[in-house]
Symmetry: C2
Subunit: 491 residues, 2 copies
């Protein structure tokens, strides 16, 4: 089995004494793929070389992989096999900073002000050509690793929107014997939104995805949107009831595997000294605790969250002074103008609430623009209400993480635009991300709900998360691959 993702599990560096070292990658996707590695003996992980030392490793191991010792005494020891892909720097920059993260991300999350942006053109085409070259390099490494392993019919799991054309390139190199699965971790845009992308991008992405055996998403909604998009592809026949696309002789199974967390690992981290130490500071915040934890992305709807909080004070004046809104916001992509502008809007919105309602003893909004995971987890344990009001969000693991470690019967206010909504709606107070009064009332309800109802909701949330852990996520995929490869018919 070969796993392919842009970001890998480790980054190499060299110490001052010249010794090679590595550090573990972070983020939801890497955590998830680590679980795949654990459950798939002998798997190799192909990822981009991102540091200078990564490039060295890439060159040394060309055509094979490097073994890295895992561990840290938490029962996860083992050997990780990694193959790194060296890219042309300019191509990688075009792929990452000019195509995938601005254009594809914005389209898939519906973030453009369409009467005004995007303004596409030949720049887009050049970035797309670089994107394809980067993907071809991935496929080349996959092909070399397969051959190094002596595996003619490998299972190749390709992950996320940086690697849309990798399945097609792998199919070209390895033929029909390879089993290719593509997993998208962001929403799939419905056809009208999809058409914001240039025609050549749309055609090449779809041709590549339809050369996979499985295309998988976090929610049924995204799978439906993908099927609707594929209906417009000539030669692709959609069997909606079986959630299958027939392309010539191949069936492409369109599947839904909602990603999750590792509850045990997460709970164990939540019990760590560092977190407990940090909890003291969190508990000093006056009044009830309303929390949000987000990357500073336009999709997260942070500004409307502050506006809704302000409206809560207008609509329920008795709450003034009795709650603190802690916003743990991880800075993100600040070199992109849209993100820099959004960061300023976030600060202005928080300041407005604080100027209007703050006193010498009470700051209504505590804005922490920092990457502080320990503090986030400390806050998870202590929130009375957790706000996840995203405009659109592939899954949103914050909702699941909070549910697992919160100790106050905290209530989740959850946007129907978050992927997590499909699984968690019955354990949450649902909101439209666009309705400020509704969000204001939902936050108020979450903060004032009777203990019994709070606990019922928290219990529901917790069981929903425990019913589908990251291991379940992996096992469901492996089981379907097994069924498909042995000629079964799926649904």
């Amino acid at each position: 089995m070969i796993i392919v993702s842009n970001r890998g599990p480790v980054t190499f560096s060299r110490s001052e004494s010249g010794e090679r070292r590595y550090s573990r990658g972070a983020g939801g996707l890497v955590t998830a793929l680590n679980a795949v590695m654990r459950l798939s003996e002998g798997a190799v992980w192909v990822a981009s070389a991102r540091s200078e030392e990564d490039v060295e490793v890439a060159r040394e191991t060309r055509g094979f992989y490097r073994e890295v010792e895992e561990g840290g005494g938490e029962g996860r020891e083992g050997t990780l096999r990694v193959a790194l892909v060296e890219h042309d720097e300019r191509d990688y920059d075009l792929m990452y900073n000019h195509l995938a993260n601005p254009l594809i991300w914005f389209v898939h999350h519906g973030l453009y002000d369409l009467p005004r942006s995007p303004n596409l053109g030949d720049d887009t085409r050049r970035a797309w050509e670089a994107y394809r070259r980067v993907n071809a390099s991935f496929a080349e490494t996959v092909s070399e690793v397969a051959s190094g392993l002596g595996d003619d019919e490998p299972t190749v799991l390709v992950h996320d929107y940086h690697l849309y054309t990798t399945p097609g390139e792998v199919r070209e190199r390895l033929g029909e014997g390879a089993f290719i699965s593509f997993f998208l971790h962001i929403p799939w845009p419905e056809p009208d939104l999809w058409r914001v992308l240039p025609r050549y991008v749309r055609e090449e992405v779809l041709a590549s995805l339809l050369s996979s055996n499985v295309v998988a998403f976090h929610t049924r909604r995204y799978a439906e949107a993908f099927l609707a998009t594929v209906r417009e592809v000539p030669g692709a026949e959609v069997d909606h009831d079986r959630s299958v696309v027939r392309c010539g002789d191949r069936e492409v199974w369109v599947r839904v595997y909602p990603i999750s967390i590792d509850p045990e690992e997460f709970a164990s981290f939540a019990r760590s000294e560092a977190v407990i130490e940090e909890e003291r500071r969190v508990r000093e915040l006056p009044g009830k605790l309303l929390l949000r934890v987000d990357r500073m992305d336009l999709s997260k709807n942070i500004v409307r969250g502050f506006a809704a909080y302000e409206r809560m004070f207008e609509r329920h004046p008795e709450t003034v002074g009795k709650v603190t809104f802690l916003a743990q916001l991880q800075p993100s992509r600040q070199e992109v103008p849209e993100y820099a502008a959004y960061a300023r809007e976030i600060e202005a919105a928080a300041r407005r609430v604080n100027d209007r309602y703050g006193t010498a003893d009470w700051t209504p909004v505590r804005l922490a623009m920092e990457d502080n995971f320990v503090r986030s987890v400390a806050a998870y344990k202590n929130y009375d209400a957790l706000l996840v009001n995203a405009v659109r969000d592939g899954m949103n693991l914050v909702a699941k993480e909070g549910a697992i470690v919160n100790e106050r019967g905290g209530v989740l206010v959850l946007s129907e635009g978050a992927g997590a909504f499909e699984e968690l709606r019955e354990g949450a107070v649902p909101v439209s991300p666009f309705d400020l009064d509704e969000q204001a009332d939902a936050i108020h309800r979450a903060l004032t709900m009777p203990r019994k109802e709070r606990e019922r909701l928290a219990g529901t949330l917790r069981s929903r998360v425990l019913e589908n852990t990251i291991e379940d996520w992996v096992r469901a995929q492996l089981a379907d691959i097994e069924t498909y490869r042995s000629g079964g018919s799926g649904y």
Copy 2:
């Protein structure tokens, strides 16, 4: 048969001498419904009372209808039966200016900058309640007219997004015997976009539409989007192959009837003295003629059109000085801040091109912000290229009107976001509304295409329009109603 639309075919007024007069309504929808009236003997048209004198007429004819003599010597004489609905002024204002035209229009055309707008709340709910009351008044009048006609099982044709809850209200009053058809003249938004509307709006609109017998759209795409939206409604069973929704005992047929024009009537107007007179002025414009004719709406993509034209000069400098871009833009909704801002952007974009490239003898962009139908038709006859680059557009009749009367083998540059794209793509140069370089090259290609290819495209366009005139549009609907009522199974 009872036709229901917000705007009616006539508006009444009183002359200084106290005599009652009326003027004919204009616009694509009214023209289309006039064709329905012509082909449906004895039909009554129910519409809003919009003037003071309309209100008088509404009161006098309550429970019945008023006959109006049609005519003007163009072979369309006859008697029009009209029933006007009096509304509470405040309710009507909320329905029209606070709900239908900003919110529903923006959502259906995908015009919101979603990370920032809309900001919904209790105001929205109040506007929605007014919208429902206005719709209930429509249904009340329909019910009175039906009873005045002595028709227990009338066929009721309800038109467009101002009247979303009218089908449900009519069903409630007239029972299952009535045959209700709802026609939407704007795009239906796919589920993610649809969810921008508040939950109560979505639920009540869908419940109402699903109490119809037929729900109809201009394009297959909109019908697909509607079916995808309905999949999420509990109790509604979608039969995708038959394009039918089963709701309890009733089948709702989801149908596609692309609206069109009356080519004869249009061509006859194009031959009128007034148009011929105006043509002289149009022909004085230097160089080839690039034309656009649009209402000044954010969905029309007017700013990007000027930017693409400017890029054509950069990419094909030999075209500088050899073309005039005439933009006939009808002012619209200028009291709405978004529209006023967009008008300023349009002016700035045109000015930028003129400042950069204009000379004493040549103005590259002629911006005519006026409602001048005669001039538009004069320009239709004389364009070398017609630009329709809408972000999203229910149909776009400009493309069809131009195709019928143009006399220069003019080439249509057509956005894939326009509803007309489904019918006319093979007779047009297709463009993405978001790609400026592609639009620049498409305009260039349209202006420089060899005569033979121009004429082939113009011929294709013309036959596509003639294959499906406004009468065909009406007849297809009447035929399906006949089939449905006689127990047939449609597709």
